[in-house]
Symmetry: C2
Subunit: 478 residues, 2 copies
Amino acid sequence: MNNAVTRGTLVSRLQDALGATAVLGEASDTAGYTEDWRGRYRGEALCVVLPSSTAQVSDVVKLCAAAGVPILPQGGNTSLCGGAVPPAVGAAPVILNLARMRQIRDVDAANGSMVVEAGCILKTVQDTAAAAGRLYPVSLGAEGSCQIGGTLSTNAGGTSVLRYGNTRENVLGLEVVLADGTIWNGLRALRKDNTGIDLKQLFIGAEGTLGIITAAALKLHPLPTHHALAWFAPRDPAAAGQILGMFQNACGSRLSAFEIMNRHQLELVLANVPNRRNPLGGAHDWHVLVELGDTRDAEGLEAVLTETLGEAIERGLVEDAVIAANETQRADLWEVRHSVSEANKKAAVGLTTDCAVPVSSVPAFIDAATRAVQAIVPGLDIAVVGHMGDGNVHFIPMFSFDDWDALADSAAMGDAMRACVNDVAARLSGTFSAEHGVGQTGLPLMARYKSPAELALMHRVKAALDPNQLLNPGRLVP
Amino acid sequence: MNNAVTRGTLVSRLQDALGATAVLGEASDTAGYTEDWRGRYRGEALCVVLPSSTAQVSDVVKLCAAAGVPILPQGGNTSLCGGAVPPAVGAAPVILNLARMRQIRDVDAANGSMVVEAGCILKTVQDTAAAAGRLYPVSLGAEGSCQIGGTLSTNAGGTSVLRYGNTRENVLGLEVVLADGTIWNGLRALRKDNTGIDLKQLFIGAEGTLGIITAAALKLHPLPTHHALAWFAPRDPAAAGQILGMFQNACGSRLSAFEIMNRHQLELVLANVPNRRNPLGGAHDWHVLVELGDTRDAEGLEAVLTETLGEAIERGLVEDAVIAANETQRADLWEVRHSVSEANKKAAVGLTTDCAVPVSSVPAFIDAATRAVQAIVPGLDIAVVGHMGDGNVHFIPMFSFDDWDALADSAAMGDAMRACVNDVAARLSGTFSAEHGVGQTGLPLMARYKSPAELALMHRVKAALDPNQLLNPGRLVP
């Protein structure tokens, strides 16, 4: 089938193989695939292909390999760092979007597993698991539109990492189309399998550079049916860290969320999003949302929540606290947390970062990053919001729209601000990308923060699995 | 330093580099390193080196690479499949034993992490974590002598996988000496880090074929302080599976063990190990030990245990049950479970297997394997003991010593028996090695059960990381 295929004939050969409706060539049809959802990244594509089966994905890869045209695998195009769209310069790739591979192949509640195709929407996977009385725990803002293949390729994090780990910890097996079109069926749904190199780990978080994930065997958990939630004002981040330890000791794995934000972040939410109320009476510098979840025993949950918070108050670690009295209040408090992105977008220019440090270093990180940023712009506003239980803090220097526009070189200011925050994280043995991935934004940071040994190892793995640089060339490893 | 080193001068060059007491050359000194602890595997070594630091490991690797002499990395030499000793044929390697690298570099209770060197004994790691009020959950029979580097290189399983996962799930970062002597420092102790290929995953479970793990950042958990345990007789394995589901729904992650054994296995323990008593009054075909653990609330634990078992009895799934009334009774019941290896060794020739299948397929696996084995030897005794919650069943055809000696070709019988059990697992999408690894025993099985695509991928990764076949050549991937 690959005889004489060239860049010039590739589109028609793809149409022959998949049918005309599975190959989009006109710019008007491909716009939604070549530009990211926030409009910040845009690149040309030779065409967009929409295969419906693993065999078709393999056909596409073989044709592109024969024509020497690179492939950009794409899921729901919800990346926060330009990872899902083509680069602005360089050879236009074929975008291989997995959206038509949406079959749920198997649900095995007794084994705690399900097998799904890469194009399934995360929310569909969660709902299907719940209908079988099980939990697929990965949960994040884009869950209504992101595809499971994208969450696998970026090792997506989200709000349940503290309790259930990242996407990586919730995968049992994968099906992958390799760079030469070979289909590797590694869809084993086993809890234990020590037979050689654990190949699936290579493809999780590789952002499509080593193979194209077409299906996955996911790990399911017992479904928590009871929750208890509190909002409290810790004295400072160090006190929040101590209270996190108290909850871990008291509640073990019942602790399902421990989210922190600072006063400025809360004020931005209250000022910019309608119908959001301050959970506590007065004004406090720091805020924490803590949630417990369990498969039973709501009264016990609330008791341990009250007891642990009471102890923290006695020790002088907490200034004020409120416990959600019912599901409505619980939802309202989560809404405050979930309104952060909307608020920040409306309020100002926020220079979002995505650092993680050891949990024990979170107070030091916030402190040092604040000093570093304010050494550049004295008194600059900073929003802090983070998954404190994972050591993952979004530390966001904020410029008013006027101040931003008045800057002589705002791009340079953005780079300088992010660099000093990421440098602080690096000094504390942290990372510049906890959960967003590398994409286009992070590529220069890989060169800055990774050791030569580490980059060399990544290059070797890439060369071993994709020797002709067919899959997402130039991405992930600079 | 590597000028002119040859196989002939390697030992003296190693002595120059590490000091004479760190290089063992005499057969009398190396015997404990060249033979496995059960006396089943033995091979020659050029010498045994005992480096004390990562830099020394790097020096050894560079010298061996220059001399073209392969290296066999070794931990506590507790492998159950000949993984830790040299092959009986082929070039004698340098054994690089990590026993002198025993430093605990860091314990960070607030971050839930500790950094340990590869030679640390597993039990020491567990105890050090507990002293800091934290749990390192990996637990297995050899924990008093196996080294953490060995547990990492084999992705060790054990009795706590149901609750905490395999060793892989409890690693945050690694320090590894690569095949060219480069030291890769990947000792990040982060819960989230999405910056490129997750390199540590390559070395976990690779049995020393891709690099030499010298240190690890391990994940710690809140320390469970309360337990409740029951021993019960399910009607059959299918009923045991249903009850497992009931416990998962009722207890979530409080469920910390769900171990099954059959009547023959229990009888072997009672007949061959002193002071072991039948936990239940009468005789039953199947037995399960179930344990719950938590950071608080002993009464609540026992209540949910009693309640769930009561429901299973009502549904006719359980023939009899007993709940441990105190810590002594709990220890006694665990002793019955832990006496299995000793009993089987004394009682007969047991052809141990280590299959895992989807949890939902455990009853079908036991049924089909029993029929397959008894088709070869009608009425043959079979011991079944397994971690049912992980789908990991040790299915053990048992021959009396007399019957075994009377066989014309006992090796062929052993192979035939294991093959038919492993074939049943493969038909049920299972594996021939759930937790023991590949070692020497499993190498022919890799060729039998792995797809060409999978073996080819593993070879590519091996060639990329160890192009000169220096590290454990010929192991892991046939």
